[in-house]
């Protein structure tokens, strides 16, 4: 994907990413546990002012779609997101990096939307991006965007791994987990991500269903036989 990504694309993405439940309970438990220990983390920045933006309303004209809310992130926030996307999902032989796929645009669309889940994420992710700067400035004297990848990884390593979150870093860990969930959602609902995991679903079949292929049927029967069940 090249050039500036269209609002329409990021929105389709948001819709895809919304199509499922969010499992955050585990993270919250981890946070509570971690925060009971002594804190050394940079102070957690204040939550942003509540977002005032129009939504689709009750009965939008789907034949003339418009996106009523503006994007709200500034270039610095977008840059931090691009860097985080590259670190979380780096390029390898099977797919490009998260930053290359402009996941920063996806997160901007998400946290700028005026709906309850997106508002809640906004009040976690915006302070989190600010916190990354503070946490980087302390030991390294550089903000997150100026720091080296090794320095950025040193910050991520304190908050990214389950059961190994540094004591006192519970809230940053919650921010990281949420951002990672969004990055994964954005990445694997794009053609590049779908191709990477070999996802085959969500495709209409035309005409009468011809039945499974011989290979699929053989696979099914082999599995059934292995389980001691009747083959088909």
């Amino acid at each position: 994907m090249t050039g500036e990504i269209s609002r329409r694309v990021t929105l389709a993405w948001v819709a895809a990413a919304s199509a499922g439940a969010f499992a955050m309970a585990g993270c919250e438990a981890a946070e509570a546990q971690a925060d009971s220990a002594a804190t050394q983390a940079s102070p957690w920045p204040a939550e942003p002012a509540p977002l005032q933006a129009p939504g689709y309303g009750q009965d939008p004209d789907l034949n003339k779609p418009v996106i009523p809310w503006p994007l709200t992130l500034d270039p610095q926030q977008r840059e931090k997101l691009r860097i985080a996307a590259d670190l979380m999902l780096p390029a390898d032989a099977q797919s490009p990096s998260g930053g290359t796929l402009q996941l920063d645009a996806f997160v901007d669309e998400w946290v700028s939307a005026p709906y309850p889940q997106q508002r809640a994420d906004r009040s976690l992710i915006l302070p989190g991006l600010q916190w990354l700067d503070a946490e980087s400035m302390g030991p390294f004297g550089l903000d997150f965007a100026q720091a080296s990848d090794a320095q950025r990884r040193a910050i991520f390593d304190m908050i990214a791994f389950r059961g190994k979150v540094k004591p006192g870093y519970g809230r940053p860990a919650l921010f990281f987990a949420r951002l990672r969930g969004l990055m994964l959602s954005g990445f694997y609902s794009l053609p590049e991500g779908i191709a990477d995991i070999g996802y085959l679903g969500n495709k209409p079949s035309l005409g009468l269903y011809a039945g499974p292929t011989k290979e699929a049927l053989a696979h099914l029967n082999a599995s059934l036989a292995k389980l001691g069940l009747k083959t088909v």
Partner: protein, 181 residues
């Protein structure tokens, strides 16, 4: 479609190339089962005329009483056990928390197929209508909707409501032709 904030079903951890490897390993590796069953009538679930509350026309409104019975609780316990056995037999790992059936079952009214309250039957003393939806008490009243169901079947009821209505209307038309109504 891959999606959601926890797209790997809770297996998200760390970041970097290992996260991509985890995505390849865990996307589409989860199965979920929804346990649904039939609710049969019980003495704690009924509606009656409210003695106090009236609508804008001064008519008493309906008041509902509702409770799961042991039948549904046991049904859920059995369903959970069976689903777990299926997962284990397939070589999978059960990742949902172990809840007692009383807590695993959805709240009443959460999955809404409203059925019953004027059930059909073969006797006036244990039902409101006959098998054609005709009220036992009022000869020219036919009830043709989900209220004549005798239990809350777990499947979507619309087609059955339509079939029963068809049957009731055929019967009503026959009675009209004979001059009975």
């Amino acid at each position: 479609m891959p999606g959601a904030g926890s797209p790997l079903g809770g297996a998200e951890d760390g970041y970097g190339l290992s996260l991509k490897e985890d995505a390849r390993r865990y996307y589409g590796a989860q199965l979920s089962f929804t346990v649904r069953g039939e609710m049969i009538p019980n003495k704690d679930s009924f509606c009656e005329l409210d003695p106090d509350v009236k609508d804008k026309y001064g008519m008493p409104v309906l008041r509902f009483h509702w409770k799961w019975s042991d039948h549904e609780i046991r049904q859920i316990a059995h369903g959970i056990k069976s689903a777990k056995e299926i997962v284990q037999r397939l070589g999978g790992k059960v990742t949902t928390p172990d809840l007692p059936p009383e807590r695993a079952i959805s709240d009443g009214g959460f999955i809404i197929h409203e059925l019953g309250t004027t059930r059909m039957g073969d006797k006036a003393d244990n039902s409101v209508t006959d098998s054609f939806g005709k009220s036992w008490d009022i000869d020219n009243l036919v009830i043709a909707d989900g209220s004549v169901f005798t239990s809350n079947a777990h499947k979507n009821p619309t087609l059955t409501i339509m079939a029963l209505t068809w049957r009731s209307m055929d019967h009503l038309a026959a009675r009209l032709r004979k001059g009975e109504v």
